[in-house]
Subunit: 295 residues, 2 copies
């Protein structure tokens, strides 16, 4: 038995006419006849019967037809899914991304790619914390991730794509609100909040605070939470400068003496995973055109 026999059988079952079916199948009538004969022989049962000079499906052919249809449909779905990942255009790319890039870097990168490289590519975007993104990359749920750096991941390839400036955030009533820039050591005595310590950015900030003997409340996951708190308390926050913060009025962003490359965001992918041409193409494009690194 082979796949063509099944396609031939399906068509013949629908038309109940060898000559007609053979035309639609782009084979000759004797070829179709032989193909069906050998299928019937292999099954040990007549799928078609003669009614005068014409043919009709038998009871058994009708039964077999149902199974063949669903088998072929299922197979074709599989082929289509596989092909939509490849093909010369129109691939599918699954992206994992931390919140801070979702509204800013990522749509720009994707739009540029669609405009300049392949407008038929479909992007599935999943949002999550860095650890979620990394897990998705390792499990191959995502093709490419955008997140912080994580150590001891030999199978992952990290490429820095942008630096986020770390700033001091206060509301307009805060005693430091007058300043445009400030040193970390001047913060001593002011209540400070920042990201949860389990996040890479929390760890990074913690490093700078410790060398300056500063304490802080490490409790937040993202800039929106931090912005909300700062709007309504007299705490100050160390946070990444992102467009999310612009939604709050009455906030003041103050430059800090933290190196511009202290907080880097990376594009990451699994070195051991197979990637489609589309994925590779997107990765290359981002590396060459969308990186925004200091110096």
């Amino acid at each position: 038995m082979n796949l063509n026999q099944l396609y031939y059988f399906k068509k013949l079952a629908e038309l109940e006419h060898y000559t007609q079916a053979s035309k639609e199948l782009f084979i000759t009538q004797p070829s179709l006849s032989g193909s069906i004969s050998s299928l019937e022989e292999e099954l040990g049962i007549a799928l078609f019967q003669h009614h005068g000079r014409n043919i009709k499906l038998t009871k058994y052919g009708k039964g077999f037809y149902q199974y063949v249809c669903s088998a072929l449909t299922e197979l074709e779905k599989g082929i289509e899914k596989a092909r939509e990942k490849s093909g010369s255009y129109g691939g599918v790319i699954d992206l994992g991304c931390i919140p801070t890039l979702i509204g800013d870097f990522l749509p720009v990168a994707i739009n540029d790619y669609l405009k300049n490289v392949d407008s038929k590519t479909k992007f599935n975007i999943f949002q999550g914390m860095t650890l979620d993104v990394i897990e998705g990359i390792e499990s191959e749920k995502y093709d490419v991730g955008f997140c912080s750096y994580i150590e001891n991941k030999q199978n992952l390839e990290f490429h820095p794509i942008m630096a986020q400036e770390l700033i001091l955030l206060v509301n307009n009533n805060h005693p430091l609100a007058e300043k445009d820039s400030i040193c970390l050591k001047e913060l001593s005595g002011y209540p400070l909040i920042t990201y949860r310590h389990s996040l890479p950015i929390g760890k990074t900030i913690s490093k700078y605070l410790k060398t300056n003997h500063l304490k802080a409340l490490y409790a937040y996951d993202d800039e929106i939470s931090i912005g909300g708190v700062i709007s309504n308390t007299d705490s100050a926050a160390i946070t990444a400068k992102t467009p999310f913060l612009y939604q709050f009025s009455h906030l003041k962003m103050i430059k800090l003496d933290i190196p511009i490359d202290a907080r880097l965001i990376y594009m990451v992918y699994n070195k051991d995973s197979y990637h489609t041409l589309h994925v590779n193409s997107f990765v290359s494009y981002v590396l060459e055109n969308e990186c925004n690194l200091p110096l």
Copy 2:
């Protein structure tokens, strides 16, 4: 693409080891390697990737695997169903049968066939009125039917297989209960019931009653209904003598002057339909061994 490639892919996806898979598939490792390569090429996507000297399914291979599995499962179900109808033994035969033979003729015929010809045959028995049986034969729902004769069915082949004696049925209190045999014309004046006129047996009986200027209530579908009525009224009934009547006590069966072959029951099948070897074998067996006709 061909079916073997799919079977090969499935096995390789499960074992993730070419040499091992090729053994289980009874082909050589290079053959398997080539087969999978061409499948990957046709799909335009890598289904497996290298991990050192071993291989692993890719994300895309995993997706494709799901579809291939269900397609192959579906196909195999179809093949199995088709083969179970044929095969050298163990076929399936669908029978339609009127109630009067269900408990008597049919189980005997089937048991004899299972004992003497093919013990692996499976019989699906469906009960219905003659017209239901005929409809099932015409629609190929049934392979073989047992029922009365119906006219103007050129595509159906009827073979008489038994005669049922038509008798007068009364209860023990009936004035005629003393008699062992009686002529139809002696029934004038007694209330009579019999089968519904829409049934073939009702038509047959009606013919004999009319030639003797007798009237009757044509209202019943089967012998059990008739037996029940006769047990509890002082009507008499013209009915077929069947084992169903033995469940009633206090009933008397009286011979009538109706020819023994007035009521014939037929085996019927569709001349235009394809029949498996098993069906043909059963039909022949019944004709040769289970017929019980007068003279």
